[in-house]
């Protein structure tokens, strides 16, 4: 009997893992088990709609996994529809690739006021994630504030600031497009805790923010403090140097009074409190300075002065993702990962759990870009393949037995055919509107398309 491997989570990490496994070991049965009716995780639900070129990676995922015989078992949630124990009864090995599903909070007063959101909720909403369709983003205010300087912050800033007619040519969810069409937002202020030299934007993202048609980018004074200047000269990365050069160019541009919208990048500032009665009305911002700590790291230290108050009606925080514990497998509460050694999952005592592996953000934390998962998957799958001979056969290795269990538990299971039916509907609708695709953005629509209704 062929070894059977379940990969839990069909996002980029799970897809790269399935591809690596099929390439190294063709005679393994691979099932990609996914909570949503659609595969490819953040490639579909995270990557910004105006970055369509990156979404082409789905063709590669399709070719290297489903077209090579990996099965897609969608709309199945491990821990709810089927337990970890049941997977272990039916599979030789289980690989967790569930990502980092929640966001870090700011820990400041007012964070829970209506109008204050995790940027990732906004991302999931505009990308048509079915669990986020009904989020009510109120865009009737003039100013939005985005907290954070990373790629998710850059994405949400572009979506808020960009001309809606440009977004209308993408696969952005229709409900988001409609809401953005009525947006009253004129200014998006982006707060960075540290200085221009430490901004986590890539230079490509920063350049893009400076070149949106009809949008002015204001960056103010970007003169570096002495510590940052020294750091940039001695240890600074290529990207940090390019970012500082770009910011200097942007700061010397003339004002564009006629621009429809404005993006304002503010550095060395932290949110202190979000203010409002029954919804967000303003944000209090404290100034920081850069200091070198004992380990040599440049940190932001609050300056002792009265915080500034900035009126705004929408706050999106983007200060990092965090993984959440999975049922019946260990979890490292300190680093928010599934503890592992090169992808082999460990008990809290550091013992290997035979047959259980992990890959992607749940393994290494939310770092790196799409391609990082390919190398990560090579490591995990290398371990799995090396262990395969020594792993015991599961108690119930019969594929039909597991399929029968799933059929009983999950009548709405979406297999590869169902996913292809969803894709066909979306692409067909896209063709009619000259868009790459028009997403079905609710579970009901997805499931009825999958069923061919």
């Amino acid at each position: 009997m062929k070894p059977r491997v379940a990969i839990v989570g069909a996002g980029p990490a799970g897809a790269f893992a399935a591809a690596a496994l099929k390439r190294r070991k063709g005679d393994v049965e691979v099932d990609l088990i996914e909570r949503l009716p659609t595969p490819w995780g953040l490639l579909r639900g995270g990557v910004a709609p105006d970055h369509q070129e990156i979404k082409r990676l789905e063709d590669t995922f399709d070719r290297l996994t489903l077209r090579r015989g990996c099965r897609f078992l969608g709309n199945v949630e491990v821990g709810t529809d089927v337990s970890h124990g049941e997977l272990m009864e039916h599979y030789t090995a289980v690989v967790y690739a569930t990502g980092a599903q929640t966001d870090k909070t700011l820990g400041i007063p007012g964070e829970d006021l209506p109008g204050s959101w995790a940027a990732t909720e906004f991302v999931a909403w505009y990308n048509g994630h079915p669990d986020h369709r009904d989020r009510d983003f109120d865009l009737s205010c003039k100013r939005a504030v985005v907290i954070g300087n990373g790629n998710v912050a850059a994405d949400v800033v572009r979506v808020l600031a960009r001309d809606v007619d440009e977004l209308a040519r993408t696969d952005i969810a229709d409900h988001a497009l409609e809401r953005l069409r009525g947006s009253a937002i004129e200014e998006v202020v982006v707060l960075g805790r540290r200085g221009p030299a430490q901004a986590a934007f890539t230079s490509a993202e920063l350049r893009e923010l400076g070149n949106l048609p009809g949008v002015e980018l204001q960056v103010g004074d970007v003169t570096l403090d002495p510590e940052s200047r020294a750091w940039l000269a001695d240890e600074g990365t290529f990207t940090a140097r390019k970012n500082v050069q770009l910011l200097e160019q942007f700061s010397s541009r003339p004002r564009q009074e006629s621009a429809a919208r404005r993006i304002v990048l503010r550095f060395l500032v932290s949110p202190v409190e979000i203010l409002g009665g029954d919804r967000v009305e303003a944000i209090k911002i404290g100034r920081n300075e850069i200091v070198r700590d004992d380990s040599g790291t440049l940190r932001a230290r609050p300056v002792d002065e009265e915080p500034e108050t900035l009126e705004c009606g929408l706050v999106l925080r983007s200060v990092g993702y965090r993984a959440i514990p999975l049922p019946d497998v260990p979890f490292d509460e300190r680093y928010h990962v599934l503890p592992s050694e090169h992808g082999r999952v460990l008990t809290p005592e550091g013992e290997r759990i035979p047959g259980v592996y992990t890959v992607g953000w749940i393994k290494r934390g939310p770092t790196g870009i799409l391609g990082t998962n390919k190398r990560d998957a090579e490591e995990t799958i290398g371990c799995l393949v090396a262990d395969l001979k020594a792993l015991p056969s599961p108690a119930n290795p019969d594929r039909e037995a597991f399929d029968a269990l799933l059929a009983e538990r999950k009548p709405g299971l979406v297999g590869e055919d169902g996913w292809r039916a969803i894709a066909a509907v979306e692409l067909e609708r896209g063709r009619a509107q000259q868009r790459p695709r028009v997403k079905l953005a609710s579970r009901d629509e997805l499931l009825s398309a999958a069923a061919g209704d």
Binding site: E53, R56, T202, A204, R207, G371, K374
Partner: protein, 94 residues
Amino acid sequence: MTYVIVGSCIKDDSCIEVCPVDCIHPKPGDADFETAEQLYIDPAVCIDCDACVEACPVDAIFPDFEVPKKYDYALELNEEFFAEQGTTEQRTAA
């Protein structure tokens, strides 16, 4: 001419695997690999063979005369990477 990698690169290193002259950097294991936001082609070494273009899963590589306008900075950026972070020759010798 030369090929040029643009900002939509996802660093999956398919191009590095197929490049016959080893002109795509940084490579996994290099000191500046993890912090690099994309990979770069050394225009001084590229032999215009097209292999990387075929390998790239997100079509992020273009011949220098066909770079889309929104990436018009990319050739210069690829050159700057090697000027500032070490040429292919220096990086390979290290």
